[in-house]
Symmetry: C2
Subunit: 562 residues, 2 copies
Amino acid sequence: MKMKIVVIGANAAGAKAASKAKRLNPAAEVTVVDRGTFISYGACGIPYYLSDTVTQLKELMSTPVGVVRDAAFFKKVKGVVVRTNTAAIAIDRSAKTVDLLETTTAERSSLHYDRLILATGSSPIIPVLEKVGLPGILTVKSLEDADLLKESAVAGARACIVGGGLIGLETAEALRQKGLQVTLVEMREQLLPGLLDPEIALQVEKHLRQQGVTVLTGSRVTGFQGRDAVEKVLLGEQEVAADLVVLAPGVTPNAALAKAAGLAIGATGAIAVDACLRTSDPDIFACGDCCETTHLITGRQVFIPLGSTANKQGRVAGINAAGGEATFAGVIGTSILRIFHINAGKTGLTEAEARANGFEVETVISPAPDRAHFFPGAKPIVLKMVADRKTGRILGVQAVGEGAVDKRIDTAATAMTFHATAEQLAQVDLAYAPPYAAAMDNLIVCADIMKNKLTGQARGISAGEVKRKLDEEEDFLLLDVRSPAEHGEVGIEGATLIPLGMLREKLDELPRDKEIVAFCKISLRGYEAQKILDAAGFSNVKFMDGGILAWPYHLRVGGKES
Amino acid sequence: MKMKIVVIGANAAGAKAASKAKRLNPAAEVTVVDRGTFISYGACGIPYYLSDTVTQLKELMSTPVGVVRDAAFFKKVKGVVVRTNTAAIAIDRSAKTVDLLETTTAERSSLHYDRLILATGSSPIIPVLEKVGLPGILTVKSLEDADLLKESAVAGARACIVGGGLIGLETAEALRQKGLQVTLVEMREQLLPGLLDPEIALQVEKHLRQQGVTVLTGSRVTGFQGRDAVEKVLLGEQEVAADLVVLAPGVTPNAALAKAAGLAIGATGAIAVDACLRTSDPDIFACGDCCETTHLITGRQVFIPLGSTANKQGRVAGINAAGGEATFAGVIGTSILRIFHINAGKTGLTEAEARANGFEVETVISPAPDRAHFFPGAKPIVLKMVADRKTGRILGVQAVGEGAVDKRIDTAATAMTFHATAEQLAQVDLAYAPPYAAAMDNLIVCADIMKNKLTGQARGISAGEVKRKLDEEEDFLLLDVRSPAEHGEVGIEGATLIPLGMLREKLDELPRDKEIVAFCKISLRGYEAQKILDAAGFSNVKFMDGGILAWPYHLRVGGKES
C-alpha cells in the first residue's frame, strides 16, 4: 500500500512540505487541503501589491518564470494533489483521518493519512472591541484582504492603522504612497516593540513622520464608531477620524485544530514540536506559522512567524513525514523592514530582550557610511550591538538607515548562529572594495568598539542618559570634539566645543573634578578624546555612544533649535 | 624612559598600528616613517579617482568628516609623529636602530626603537621585458601613479592593460569610462585567475566584452616598442597598438628591508609572522601587505594583500608592540570587484584551489534573482558553492551578477570562518522581506542543492561537460524542460523540449537506454525532472548545473545562433 501523506495548508510551509515529501518518496500519495481559493502565495508581498509596487496579484503566486502555482501546477509538476476550498475541521488520531468540509458545496468527507503535516498558518489578531466588525475595518493577510484593501485605498482617504509592527508599518507606507492620510496607532511607547530598542525605533518613527505619517505611540484603541462603515477610531478620550482601518496588532497561530485533536500546545500558544518538527503525536508534524520554534540565543521556545522560517521548516517536515531524517535547529530572531527610504533590521536579542533574559549586557552604537566614505552613493547606517559581558558573545545586532542594513544583519545572524564573540566578529574576512564597504566594515568597527568596551578601555554613555543629565541640569561637561564648522552646523545645546586636534593643548581649560562626556559625529573622535583625557590623568571621562548621528532628540541647527 | 615604538610605512596597516599603539600606551613615543609624500590614503580608491567617480585625490586621504590625514593630523589627533619623505634603508637589530634617508635632502639619520613595526606594503610587479621603462608604461599603486595615469587617460587614446586581476579590471573599467579604447591582456586562459573558476570568470569576461573592452586571454606580453614613448605591446607574434600601458600583473611584498635584517621570510616571499604578527625577532612586528598570513580553510601561509586585512592587522601589531596582547587568526580568501554593472566576488577556495589542496569536492551552481522575484529591481546573481564531500563543510563560494553579490559573500565568509557545513548554512535565519531576498535566500537554496548533491539525491553535470558531449556528438538526450515560450526565446542547439508539466505524461517518449541530461532556466526544474525520471525507473538521469542562465557558451536566440 502506498504511504498516504496529508498536508493541511497550501501556503509557504505546506506547499514546500508536500513537494519535498513527494520528491523524497515518489511512491507516496501526497494530498494537500486548503480552506482558501488561492494557494502557495507570497503573503509578504501584499503590502507591495497595495502600493502598486507589484502590479498583479498573480505575481505573488507565480514561480520566478511566471507559472501560476495552482492546483494544476502542483499536480503536473510536483505530482501532488491539492484540494482548495477544503477546510480541515477535525483530526481523528486513532482512526488517522482528517474530516473535511468543502466550503463552496458544504460537502463533508474524510481523508485517511499515514503521516499528517499541519501547516495551518496564523491569523491576524482581531481585538475584542466595540464595533470591530464595521465595514471598512480590514486586516492584511490573505489575497482577498489585499484586494478589498486596495479597493478602499483611494487617494485623500483617511486611513488608521492599528499596530506599529512590521505589517502595520509596511501598510502605512503603501497607503501613504497611494496618497492617503495615514495615522499609525501603537499601544506601546515605541514602534516595532520586540524588534528594536527604543532609541533605534525612534529613528524609524522620525522617518515615518518626515514622510507625513501621523504616529501615535502609547495609544490604546478602545473601540470604533460609525454607522454603515467605520468613521472613527476611539483611543480612550481621543479619537481619530478614519475612512479605513487596518488591524495589524499581530498574528496568532492557527492551533485550534491541533488543540482539539489533543496535540501538545506550547506556552506561546503555538503547536509544540521537537527538532524533527514532530508534534506530540509521532505521525503528525507541524511547520510554519502554526508551530513554535527554538530561539538559538536563549534556548527558549518562541513564536516568530516568518515566510523564511516556514520554507525551511516545510522542507524538514516534508522529509521526516516521507520517511527521511532532517532537523530544524531554530531561529535567531532575524527580522527586516524597508520603510520608505530606510531599512531597519535586527537579529538576536535587543538590549531589552537580553536584559529580560538575565544577561549582563554591554552595548555599542556605531553610525557610519555603508561603504567607503569617499565613494559616491555611500549612505549612513547606525548599528547597535548587544553582547554578553561575561563571555563577550554577541547577543544581538540592530541596524537602521538608508544604507545596506540587510548585509550587516545577515552577516551578524550568521556569526551569532555560531556563537561568535566580538573578538571573532572583528576578524571576519568580509568583502572589501570601495563600492561595498569601508576597509573596516561597519560590523567590524562596531565589534572593535565592543572589544574596547568589554575590556574597559572605552567607556560609553547613552544619548538617553546624556539627555537626562542635561534635563536635570547635572553638573558635568558635555564636550563636543568636532570641528568648529561641524559644531556650527548642528549641535547639542549645552555642549562646549574643543576640536579633537586642539584637545592636547587645552587640557588646562578642562575641569578635573567633573564628569566629562565627549562626543563627535559618530563616536570615534569622542572615544579618542576619552583616551587623550585618560592619559592626561582625568579620572571621570566617557564618550557618548553613537555621537550626534545617533542622538534621537532635538538638535540645534545653525544658531537655532530644530 | 619612554618606550620607543617605530613604525615603517604610514598607510593602512602602519597608520592603524601607530594610532592603536599610542592609544593603548599613551606614555610611548610613537614615530612613523614613510618614504612617500602622501600618507594614510585609500589606494583601493585609485581606480575610482581615475574614472572621476571620486573627483578629488584629497578625498582618498581624508577622514569621513573631510579632515586630511597628514602629519599634522597624526601629531595633533593621534599624538603620533610622522616623518614623510623618509626611507628606512636598514635595520640594525642588535643596536635596535633604523637607518633613515630623507629623500628630498639626502640627509641620513638613525632612529632607536624598543619595538619596531614593519608596514612596508607591496609594490607592483614590473616584468623584466624589453623597453618596459618607456614613457607611457605605468602602474597603479601610489597617488603619484594615479595623477600620471589620469593625465594620460584622454578619450580616444588606446590603452593596453597587462594583467586580468582585480586592479587590471578596475583600471580597464575606469579607462573605458573615460572614453579610451581598452585592450586587456592576461597571460592565463581566464580572467581573475585564483579568484574565480573559469566558468564564472567567463561571465565577467562576457560583460567586459559587452562594454567594449577587448579581452586577450592566454596572451603573454613579450616586450614593448616605441621611440619616445610606448607605441606597441608585443605578444609574441601579435602586437597591440597602445598610447598608454598599465602594468597590473600583480604585486610583490616589500620584504627586502626585513630580509636584509635577517628576519625570516616565508615561502610566499612575504615576511613570516606568528599569530601575534611577531617576526622572527621578538621586538619586530609586521602587518599589512608586506607579511604573509594563514588561510583559514587550508591552514597554509598565503600572501593575499588587501586593505581590509591591513587594517585588522595594524590593530593587532599596534597592540602587541605597545605591550598588549592580541592575535590575528588569518584570512579566508575573500575578494570582491565591481566591474561596470556586475559584481563578482569569492570567499574561501575556488573549485580549482580546493582540488589543488587535496579536497574531494562537490560543486553547485545556482542562479536566482537577488530578492523576491516579484519585487521590482530584482537582479540575477549566480552562486557557485564548493564543499568537501567527506565532511559537507563549505570550502568556498563565488558569486557573480548584477544583484547583491556582496551580501552573499559576507554571509558565506562568516559561515565558513566557523566551519559551517551545507546543512548548517541552509538553516541560517537570514533577513527576509521582499526588497532584500526571496523567502529562501540564494545562499540557502544553494546550500539545499548542495545537501541534495552530497546525499546523492541530486546529480549535476557541468555546462562544460554538456558542451563537450555536444561537440563530440555523444549519444545522449539533452532535455529542455522549460516552457515552449522560454524554449522559443533562447535555447541550446541540440536540446529536445518537453516542458516539466508534461513530463509525467510523456515518459514513453524518452529513451531508457541513454543518458538524459535535463535543464531549465536555473536548474530547479531540471532537478525536478531528474527526480520524476528517477521515480519512473530511468537509471541514468542528471541535470545541468545552473541551467541555461549559467551556460557560458553560445545560445540559440529565437531561431538563430547568437
